[in-house]
């Protein structure tokens, strides 16, 4: 007996796949939904007095967002967070991409040792590694400054940027590099005109990751900034939590914290498509 794709096995297979995907999507979407729901809930939908919390708030309201956007401090922290995140992306890409290129394409002596060294800061929980780092930064007078926290975030992001950079440059065929050289390009031109454009998908992923890391980072920001005037979104959230405000306000802040992350990922997603190098080599 022959069984086609539309046979019983095919159908079962499809259902299983569908179920798996549905669960995966649910796992990702549920917290986002809850966050959003709380951020637009009115008090009566949360303090229900024993009754189960409704699936959708009784009286959806945007008043917590209005409150947030009416708070001048909130704009300040958003701008601060953006400055820190964008600068962190810039700094770690400027340092990490060339490093990834060299480590990915050349036999560098002591390469393994360097990679282990780079990762050592991330081998410990942040709360452990932050103490020596913060102490060192304070000695450098880097606390309460933008560049201090940018440097700290770059320190956290660099191992990943370098590793992702390495894997972005490694698969580019060496013939392309040699061809460009034979055509008159020097090493710098080869890098700018051939290797970098081909590494963009991998590097975009590294940039997204770095942005998210910096935007969400709390511990290092707290230790380096908490006593000064500069505050970021995560510190603002922490500050509000200290006054135990209604959950709705926290949810609204969290929504604002998550939104750019989602938008940023969606924007750069098109660069993350694979197969851009197809056609280079027969």
């Amino acid at each position: 007996m022959q069984r086609g794709r539309s046979g019983p096995t095919g159908v079962h297979y499809g259902v299983l796949w569908g179920l798996g995907i549905a669960i995966a999507v649910g796992l990702v979407a549920a917290p986002i939904f809850l966050l959003f729901k709380y951020s637009i809930s009115d008090i009566s939908s949360i303090n229900t007095g024993g009754a189960p919390i409704p699936f959708w708030p009784y009286h959806p309201t945007l008043k917590y967002f209005t409150y947030l956007f009416g708070d001048r401090q909130f704009y300040g922290v958003i701008v601060n967070s953006l400055i820190v995140s964008v600068c962190t992306v810039a700094a770690s890409m400027v340092i990490g991409v060339p490093a990834g290129y060299v480590l990915g394409r050349y036999r560098v002596p002591g390469r393994e040792l360097m990679l282990v060294g780079l990762f050592s800061v991330r081998l410990f929980p942040d709360i452990v590694s932050v103490i020596p780092v913060a102490e060192f930064f304070i000695r450098l007078n880097a606390h309460n400054t933008y560049w201090g926290v940018v440097l700290a975030h770059s320190l956290l992001a660099l191992p990943y940027v370098i590793l992702m950079g390495m894997s972005a440059f490694e698969p580019i065929p060496r013939d392309l590099e040699h061809q460009a050289m034979v055509m008159g390009a020097n090493r710098f031109q080869v890098f700018i005109k051939v290797l970098l454009p081909l590494a963009v998908p991998g590097l975009a992923a590294a940039a997204i990751y770095t942005f998210l890391l910096s935007w969400d980072e709390f511990i290092f920001s707290y230790f380096l900034l908490a006593l000064g005037k500069i505050s970021t979104l995560t510190l603002y959230l922490k500050q509000k939590m200290a006054f135990s405000p209604p959950q709705n306000l926290l949810a609204a802040i969290s929504t604002c914290l998550s939104l750019p992350v989602i938008v940023f990922s969606l924007l750069l997603q098109k660069y993350m498509t694979a197969g851009i190098t197809s056609g280079a080599i027969k």
Partner: protein, 371 residues
């Protein structure tokens, strides 16, 4: 325009010697093929001329100037890689103009070059395409166009046709030949395919195991291979090799083999008189053995040998017969389609004495080879 001269070139990768004191001279405008089996060092040699591989010792001259330490970007060369190495993120047009843009050639000149090379290689209408939207043959032509617009002194081609199918390879070969005739550049072509080497090159440099085996016109390499290796590597089906010794019979000097006494041409017969008794390696090309049903038209230098057909392989216009002669000697020869030989049939075959090759079994060198 330039000649390329390699003098006493050496190259090792670790303990492995890739090029062993090699000398080669390529004239201005010449089409030379580096031919040889995989791992003979032919690609390494090409990459040395390109500057992608360092030279351990010896001298490389391009256009009379020593080039050993000139980086690839400062050599007036262009190269087509086996993989074509088209930049996947650039259109055909940008790929072709890549080198000119690096050299900051004015836009007008770029346009002129483009309008010269596009029809030359039949790339009309493909300018905006990306490499992944091209067929194998088109990619090969873009790679060639990209090399030609640079107006190089020397054009280096590293097995550019090995990724094409047989039919396409044939047209590409003709096209390469035509382009070479039109642009008249010095071309160094690397291949392991003897047909490509025979059809296209003015001279073939046959490499084997890191040294130069023979360097001559295709005709000469085929008719007068300098060594046993050369005779085996060039020519298809493969040459028949059998041991023998110079001998005398009926006032004639010839060669005694397991098949019997083989006659030689008069000239060689006289020359070899003094060498009677010397053992030799005898080479007979399948093309130089003729099956004739009626043995009237035979030359004095022809020898008739009796064989039994063991295998008949139909090649198309001709058939290859694998036959066994006296002394369990296996021989291959070709017959035309008109002739009909059955398995186990006893046949008489004429061996053309003028074309019998004799090699020294010790040195493997052709006896009487005069370069």
């Amino acid at each position: 325009m330039a000649d390329v001269v390699l003098k006493n070139i050496n190259k090792s990768f670790g303990a492995h010697r890739v090029i062993d004191s090699l000398d080669l001279e390529i004239r201005n405008g010449e089409f030379v093929t580096l031919l040889g089996p995989s791992g003979c060092g032919k690609s390494t040699l090409l990459r040395m001329v390109a500057g992608l591989e360092s030279i351990d010792s010896g001298d490389l001259f391009i256009g009379g100037k020593r080039h050993n330490h000139i980086p690839p970007q400062n050599r007036r060369i262009a190269m087509v890689f086996q993989s074509y190495a088209l930049f996947p993120h650039l259109s055909v047009r940008s790929n072709v103009l890549f080198g000119l843009k690096i050299k900051k050639v004015p836009f007008k000149v770029c346009e002129e070059k483009l309008s010269w090379v596009v029809p030359l290689l039949g790339l009309e209408g493909l300018e905006r395409r990306l490499p992944k939207e091209l067929s194998g043959g088109q990619r090969q032509r873009v790679a060639l166009a990209r090399a030609l617009v640079l107006d190089p002194d020397v054009l280096l081609l590293d097995e550019p046709l090995s990724n094409l199918d047989a039919a396409l390879r044939e047209t590409a070969m003709e096209e390469l030949k035509r382009v070479h005739r039109q642009v008249g550049k010095t071309v160094i072509y690397v291949t392991h395919n003897q047909v490509e080497a025979m059809t296209m090159s003015e001279r073939i440099a046959l490499l084997n195991d890191s040294h130069l085996e023979q360097y001559d016109k295709p005709r000469v390499v085929y008719d007068a291979p300098r060594t046993v290796f050369a005779s085996q590597f060039i020519g298809s089906p493969a040459i028949n090799l059998l041991p023998g010794a110079i001998a005398r019979q009926d006032e004639e000097t010839g060669v005694q083999t397991a098949l019997g006494f083989l006659m030689l041409d008069r000239e060689r017969s006289c020359k070899l008189q003094g060498m009677v008794g010397r053992s030799v390696q005898v080479g007979i090309r399948p093309q130089n053995m003729a099956y004739v049903e009626h043995l009237q038209s035979r030359r004095a230098s022809d020898t008739c040998v009796e064989l039994t057909a063991e295998l008949v392989e139909i090649l198309g216009d001709r058939s290859l017969i694998v036959a066994r002669g006296r002394g369990e000697t296996q021989l291959r020869f070709l017959i035309t389609r008109e002739a009909d030989i059955q398995q186990d049939q006893k046949v008489s075959v004429l061996v053309d004495g003028r074309r019998v090759l004799l090699f020294d079994p010790e040195t493997q060198v052709n006896i009487g080879y005069a370069p």
